[in-house]
Symmetry: C2
Subunit: 146 residues, 2 copies
DNA sequence: TCCTGTTCGTTAGCTGAGCTAATGATTTAG
DNA sequence: CTAAATCATTAGCTCAGCTAACGAACAGGA
């Protein structure tokens, strides 16, 4: 068992933190051509795969406050990627759904965005890809608990 | 060997992308008390550990354009964490170095910033921590190649 | 020596993410 | 049927990232 001051654990946390910063900075530039940056692409993905959902649900899924999501959705709507449907059940809420164009653009942008990453992953051995997948699984659960 | 259209690899790239986004969003909030957000803390760390260096070198190390780094350094300087020393060798450049306060604040902020993360890591089994470290190593090399 | 081109950092000006606080509209509860 | 809660938006702030343009300083050749 580790003690509370285990430096290895802090170092681990630190490199995780650092990796996230640098990875995002890289990916941000990798996708200049697409008009979809990381937050927008991520939100659109949730709408595409998560079916119709309200803005509040989307904000919760993306771990963001509603005002932040309002603006992201507005940008997506302005580009014709997302449709805001009023909800007859509860007229305070919206039903967000992806348009056909939204679906297409999402898949294209996603492919572009992760292309450089996938290219690097391709160079890894089968065993290394295994280890990467394994580590990501743990990181995912870590984030969920945060 | 994987083929170029291996969906597993794209899925891997995608979850890496997604993990980075969500992790940073979480950590951003975790550290409200500290006046040091992720980019500033990261830059200060490089200055503390990387000894005196110029703004251009720092920008390169952080994978950011000079104007971006100019503003980050300005904020650090305004808080008395970093000193800009003129360089006699080449008066176009600066020598950036951390102040005593800068070193102290960096260590404190770093500890705070990764605390929630380290707490979660603490809950992982020894084996899981191993897998996390392993995955991060691969992610690190991936980023370097990007 | 001086002129020219290059390099370094800064400034100006833009887009966009994230937040809190306050507001209007609607629904729910009492 | 009024009061409280909930949902999305607006306003207003800090900050990160970029490109373009610029002044200051260096380096090299006529």
């Amino acid at each position: 068992m580790s003690t509370a001051s285990d430096p290895a654990r802090e170092e681990l946390a630190d490199s995780l933190h650092s990796a996230a910063i640098h990875l995002l900075r890289k990916l941000r530039r990798a996708d200049v051509r697409s008009r979809l940056n990381a937050p927008r692409l991520s939100a659109l993905s949730v709408i595409v795969f998560g079916g119709p959902l309200t803005l509040g649900q989307l904000a919760a899924a993306e771990q963001v406050r509603p005002p932040t999501m309002t603006r992201i959705v507005h940008a997506l709507e302005a580009r014709g990627l997302v449709k805001k449907n009023s909800n007859a059940e509860d007229r305070r809420t919206l039903h967000l759904s992806a348009t056909t164009k939204g679906r297409r653009v999402m898949h294209e942008a996603r492919a572009r965005r992760i292309h450089s990453l996938a290219t690097q992953i391709e160079k890894l051995s089968r065993r290394e890809q295994e280890r990467l997948r394994d580590g990501l699984e743990i990181i995912g659960s870590l984030i969920r608990e945060l």
